[in-house]
Symmetry: C2
Subunit: 494 residues, 2 copies
């Protein structure tokens, strides 16, 4: 890991400077399109947004820029071959749809009429994700201008989906169906953020997810707690027992085998996390919570970024109206979500849960478990050479040491890792105050331009320092069946 | 306990026989009044029912028969002094209101047009409770006719409330306000049943009840389980933990002190319960349940009749809609009811719960407990001389040995014990198939006449064999404050 930021490139900076006004004009134009994927009334706007982007990518120089239809909103695919047969292939991921927004939600200016105030551009989608997608247009232009190349140093591909804010319902199928054209050596996800403007960071992984509902049935109808109380099993009590027994006293998940294979934090990563200027009381305010609580032996950041969890999302059973009702309920229900980390396999967790629930319930309680789906975790080890390229590029752009984070949530990035069998890198410049999904979303223009600069360095750095075949995953994944239980090693170094 | 039923009384039987047709005509007339207390549309019918009963009691010979107003539906009070200064005073409790009923619920005949079929009288209220109230009119008449007395051998009082099917909201206040006029040596509750027509039984106690709601709050709003999962307390999980920890592996309640002072079953009572022809699979069908489960070391009957319980009546928190939602909920809620037995005090249980909940919850979870109220348990020991009178009277009427039950539910009978400070006796002839609260409610006419006969024997037997002062509670209760924690001893024998 370099500890002294690499030197910036005057030519790159000059090129970005020359084109920055036009770039911002483009961004403003795009932000005016209310591409709200969740609202059918904006379906036309989402299509318009896709066309606009495809046109812009063509204008940028991409020889291929296509709108890809899905069963829902369209995605945009673009490709710019390097010309060098040994060059790595990189696929940039982002999305062009946005969250809903209305002035009356508390915006100080119209959400779809971008307004610049004090170095910030306010608009829905400014940070999530149009700004972070568009930075790649100026990024590749600066890369070419500064290097004198006519094509990027890597084979550059972009896949910008149109349904991310609606849960990416058709994204896995889209990736599956186009796996050949999307084939690459790494994915670069530009849909995340950094620790802060003062502390630039690179995200190295996201947690996976599997969630489910457990229905429990006891008596065939609600029965009188006086006549029968204390003598028959109560499904609400059994639901509560399942939820309660899912963790031990140390807040560790008790499902047999749950931690088997978990890729634990390295000492280096724990040290790096610990160096971050973390303010737990500020974090608690963000969490709208009044105390921290979690797995013994780990810090709050480690718990949300790097440890698997079981969380009770909802529970219900029996009487929930006003006052009391002295019944034994006939049924109850749990909603559980499990965040998974590298080394865990959703199918194994599901199977363990099935067996554990069946073994936990007494006679007289029927049950059914429904899993809603599974998103795999992704993790790129600190020592991975492609990750090192991202770090070096950011350090050149920011002129300071770059640190590391992870993302506790789960997202479609994992589908890229999973279906395409490649490591996922994160290049994001948004910061927590950017207000994703909230009123007055904004992007910090200085950070946005640092992101452009990072992208401009990245393609050359990757081509120069990375030999994908030396750190590749062992062979392409089979696309028609689930990926193997344990993520393949992404690097020999770790 | 007598093991040979006492001889019946030919004079009593002849008197009942002579008057039975008129008695049944009266009952049919009363059952035609749809005194549904829960339905405001029937408020006039409930009043009409009260007036009808007061008139009938006057016609029976009661020198005092009054309609007592409450803030809800009216009750009926009647009194017939013995004239003997040493005679015990007995207060009969029942109710003249009924559950709703409509032909389309599955009745074979109009619920308020009584119909006799195969020795059964079908009508709403036939068993619950008009039949069992009215039996006391013919009962006292037969008692007088057979004994040649002009006033009963005991000072006889009746209190027949009009809101039992609506939860008796004004009953405790009514009893409190009229405690002087209701003063007695024992209450006789005629609002329960027997094991079966073949196995006549006397109920010796009812469980008490206190129920509550526990609200828990964690984050100020639902938060993202990816961003924060595993690092802050989850109020739904904490609600589940409370519910789960409320019982140990033996299904005993874990609240500190919960079993302190509990009057345990005597060996004699356990033996007597065990002799009852209990069919657990038939009982499970009644319970609409598929397995029995409860406190280790006790049978099903012991669990529902004589053991205190904690039951989860409802639980709710977080997302309960279709599909999944990966949140940490901001709040959750439990509804708990505790059935109490003699020796337990609702206030102590409430206080223990308050302390236990406060000590169980982690930092970051706020909570609030709301108790809905408390009904005390009541229990009359097998050896109590007034209970022996009931048993002897029933054995004379039924010509067979009488066994014992208890009632798992809770009811206003406990208010009589509590406010008036007297033992509660149960004289009921209804059987489980009578269909209380269900379509086609009926009373078995032969059992009803056995009930009349029991009542006819009871007053003379009590006057002859019971000296209340020798088995009285120690001094009158103070009516304006809660009763003491532990039920006062009802008898020196036990």
């Amino acid at each position: 890991m370099s500890s002294i930021p690499a030197a910036p490139d005057d030519a790159v900076r000059a090129s970005i400077h020359d084109r920055s006004a036009a770039f911002l004009d483009d961004l403003v134009e795009w932000l005016c399109i209310p591409s709200v994927s969740a609202d059918p009334a904006h379906a036309g706007d989402v299509r318009r947004s896709a066309s606009w982007l495809a046109g812009k990518l063509t204008a940028t120089g991409f020889p291929v820029a296509e709108v890809w239809e899905t069963e829902g909103a369209p995605a945009v695919f673009a490709e710019w071959p390097s010309g060098d047969p040994d060059a790595p292939t990189v696929l940039v991921y982002g999305h062009h749809d946005v969250q809903p927004a209305a002035l009356e939600d508390g915006w100080l200016s119209e959400p779809f009429v971008p307004e610049e105030r004090e170095g910030r551009l306010y608009a829905r989608g400014a940070a999530d994700d149009k700004g972070q997608v568009l930075l790649h247009t100026l990024g590749v232009q600066a890369h070419l201008a500064a290097s004198g190349r006519t094509a990027p140093a890597v084979n550059l591909k972009l896949l910008i989906e149109g349904e991310e804010e609606s849960g990416s319902p058709h994204f896995p199928a889209l990736v599956q169906a186009n796996a050949d054209r999307l084939a690459c050596d790494a994915a670069v996800v530009s849909d995340t953020g950094m620790w802060s403007g003062q502390t630039p960071t690179v995200c190295t992984g996201m947690r996976g997810l599997t969630d489910c509902q457990i229905d429990l049935w006891g008596p065939d109808q609600d029965i009188h707690s006086g006549s029968f109380g204390g003598a028959v099993p109560n499904p609400a009590t059994e639901a509560a027992r399942l939820a309660a027994r899912l963790h031990d006293e140390d807040h560790r998940v008790t499902l047999p085998g749950f931690y088997d294979g978990v890729v634990d934090l390295t000492d280096e990563e724990r040290l790096l996390f610990a160096e971050l200027p973390f303010d737990e009381s500020a974090w608690l305010r963000t969490a709208h919570s009044h105390a921290a609580l979690g797995e013994a032996g780990y810090t709050t950041l480690e718990r949300v970024w790097a440890r698997p969890t079981a969380e009770l999302n909802g529970i219900g059973g029996g009487y929930q109206g006003p006052g009391g009702k002295t019944i034994i309920p006939s049924s109850a229900q749990l909603k559980l979500s499990f965040r998974l980390v590298a080394g865990q396999d959703a199918e194994k967790v599901q199977q363990s849960l099935r067996e554990w629930v069946a073994a936990s319930l007494p006679d007289g309680i029927r049950h059914e478990i429904t899993f809603w789906g599974a998103t795999r975790p992704c993790l790129t080890p600190l020592g991975h050479p492609a990750l090192q390229s991202v770090v070096r590029s950011m350090e050149r752009a920011f002129g300071q040491r770059v640190r590391f984070t992870r993302e506790g949530g789960s997202g479609p990035a994992a589908d890229l890792q999973d279906v395409l069998g490649v490591p996922v890198l994160f290049l994001g410049i948004s910061i927590p105050s950017d207000g994703w999904h909230a009123p007055n979303e904004k992007v910090e223009l200085d950070l946005l331009m640092k992101g452009v600069e990072t992208a401009a360095y990245l393609w050359g750095d990757l081509a120069e320092h990375w030999r994908p075949q030396e750190s590749a995953l062992p062979g392409p994944r089979t696309h028609s069946k689930p990926a193997p239980a344990t993520p393949a090693p992404l690097s020999q170094e770790e």
